[in-house]
Symmetry: C2
Subunit: 425 residues, 2 copies
């Protein structure tokens, strides 16, 4: 008998019937002999409805009050889930983030979890209750103000609770069956992954796979909490995200070279044309962007043309940061003395992720060749030990994803057994 | 410069526009140089919507979770009011009942306020903020659970905050202009009262006037907090509820004999027919009702008929308690040996309230004569020092109210000046 933490998102809690279905799912786990702690998001679109209300009363609502408002959404869903569980003959206790001991910093709207002090939750578990916790929220350590965690917040709440309670597993329920080798809307042959490592999941998340948020995976890796990503609409096993592929704690020799192909259309590219190739000019540019809190993804600097002494610097960033970045760079024009700025929002990033590429030379060459064969023009390249990403034009993303998926033998559903050495779970 | 506490109900906070209007109203008081603390209810019908959701997931939701759910309503409205205020260039801080230090007992759904520890509110006031507090809710002293206060809860929150903060006045904003001499829907000539005493207001509230809840007036009287009942839709002065009519702290000689006529159609009458007229039989009946937590209002016992040794006992109670009371009495039939039970839900109560009747003999006689002249048949009578109530058939309520209103010279709008000795405010 252990502790299982579950997370249900808004799409799994869209109305009363959905909530009753979730309640049945929760009690199954309890009936199986486990203690259950559940993190819930707000119902369906209710967060958007609250945001609409906020906008209707104030175009620029104070962040503190926006957090106060939005946290009402999880409060509603957690109480309803607790009621539905009680209706099935079990006892449940719901707790706000604050009551659950989710301690954060005081950055409203995107607070970070500093600590979890699960005293009240543990007592409720000890008393035999199923515990429901409001996801996405906490209370600030210094000011005791209500905070929200920002995107991926409820996933992170679930993993943080699992870590604090020393849970056996954190089950993240969603509306798809697990993590796939590529987006099935682009690659119909995409296969569900049975297992994936934290590292691979991190690279997939950072590369545009939307199934788990980066910070949640980072948290799970830090505390070594296995995450089971699965569908709330089926009883099938989903994808297990853990520290290693097999049970012995070591990566298998037969491990897949590539675990998946991710893509991301949310970025844009800025090129600073004609930068004097002097020491410190590039640094000045990126300092300026850091000052306005812009996160840079990939950077490419052309080799300086010997006759002009000028170079071009390109980088990618989130599209929504584009305006702020362009304005900041524009203010820098006289100081740095570059020629002009080019903003391109029609780009896409395609990434190949797999722990196996570490020990497999030739992956990069094979990737580039398959893209070339498919007529994809590569604009930028960036690599990590277990990932290769390329930037291409937005309209070539689908072709690039499909080509890579085929080239690395991910297409057949039978591949799974080979790829993962038939470990299953 | 003092502290003004305001209360806005759901009908004053029905949508974004209404919230903006309330925000303007609040900032006017701040601009006038006062510190402002505001207790808010949930928006419009949102509490009913939450109750519908609860019913959809569980026919008998646990009281703890129902409180957790319902308190989301005030959380939403308080955050929106704070945002709207901020949009007007003032700073506001919203606080839940728990954050505001509203400490209650642990009876979910109808908790009583035990204490208010307004440390955080006072700090926010000291920092120059307008403070918005979620009405209707608190946190239990022993178990630190979220509780709701039940009917009239936000009025009570406002008065409790006013008492804890030593406020100058508690303004209760509603959708009518104040307290009237009778319900204007029944008596078109009914006049707004400029002032009324706590005692009179208590009797009016207990007699069916719905404008202020009994417990809120009791709280105000205990802590001597002036309540100003007024409309959120006009700038007119409303009705001041205080400890005494004039400024010198004593009732004026010219004070009205009668301040108003209240009525109540929410009660029912049960008659226990043919009760053996022995010591203890009546006590047994009311003990039984107390055991099932039924509150009795008026009681009449007929004089025993000498030839039979049997008597009839009639009492009134809230209609919704009728079923439980009848069942409890039915179980008592063999023990007490009465003949039969008669349940009558078609009754109404008409009450004459006024501190002046204390020193005015003949009020009762005049009241009964005007009812007789109007053809109203009196079924039961009950009196206090400043109130006379009669029970009649439900269809005679309107006639009775109008007759009493006329008989005691409340009809003319000029009467006000005479009635209240021209004190005005």
């Amino acid at each position: 008998m252990g502790i299982v933490v579950q997370k249900y998102g808004g799409s799994s809690l869209s109305d009363a019937d959905a909530i009753k279905r979730v309640a049945r799912r929760i009690t199954e786990q309890k009936r199986a002999g486990n203690d259950v702690v559940v993190a819930v998001s707000a119902m369906g679109d209710s967060t958007d409805e609250l945001l609409d209300l906020a906008e209707a009363v104030s175009p620029l609502p104070p962040a503190r009050e926006l957090d106060m408002l939005l946290t009402a959404g999880e409060r509603i869903s957690m109480a309803l889930v607790a009621m539905a569980i009680s209706d099935l003959g079990y006892t449940a206790r719901s707790f706000t983030g604050s009551q659950a001991g989710v301690i954060t910093d005081s950055v409203h709207g995107k607070a970070k979890i500093i600590d979890v002090t699960p005293g009240r939750i543990q007592s409720a578990i000890d008393d035999g209750h199923i515990v429901i916790v409001a996801g996405f929220q906490g209370v600030s350590q210094d000011t005791k103000e209500i905070t929200t965690l920002g995107r991926g917040g409820t996933d992170t709440t679930a993993v943080a609770l699992a870590a604090a309670l020393n849970a056996d597993v954190c089950e993240i329920y969603t509306d798809v069956d697990g993590v796939f080798t590529a987006d099935p809307r682009i690659v119909p042959q995409a296969a569900k992954l049975d297992q994936v490592t934290y590292e691979e999941m991190l690279e997939l998340a950072a590369s545009g796979a939307k199934i788990l948020h980066l910070r949640c995976v980072e948290y799970a890796r830090r505390y070594n909490i296995p995450i089971h990503v699965r569908s709330s609409f089926s009883q099938l096993d989903g994808t297990l995200v853990t520290g290693s592929i097999n049970d012995e704690g070591e990566e298998q020799m037969e491990a897949a070279i590539i675990s998946g192909v991710a893509h991301d259309r949310s970025e844009a590219k800025i090129t600073v044309v004609g930068v004097p190739d002097k020491i410190g000019e590039a640094a000045r540019i990126f300092e300026t962007l850091a000052e306005v809190a812009i996160n840079i993804d990939m950077i490419v600097q052309n080799v300086s043309a010997t006759d002009t002494g000028l170079t071009d610097i390109s980088f990618t960033l989130t599209q929504s940061d584009g305006q702020v970045a362009m304005e900041a760079l524009d203010r820098l024009k006289d100081e740095v003395g570059y020629e002009k700025l080019i903003f391109d929002h029609s780009i896409g990033k395609v990434s190949l992720v797999g722990a196996g590429m570490r020990s497999n030379p030739g992956v990069t060459a094979k990737f580039f060749k398959c893209l070339a064969d498919a007529g994809v023009n590569i604009e930028m390249i960036s690599t990590s030990e277990i990932r290769i990403s390329v930037v291409c034009s937005e309209e070539q993303v689908d072709v690039a994803v499909a080509a890579a998926h085929t080239a690395f033998d991910l297409d057949s559903s039978e591949v799974e057994a080979v790829v993962y050495g038939g470990t299953g779970r």
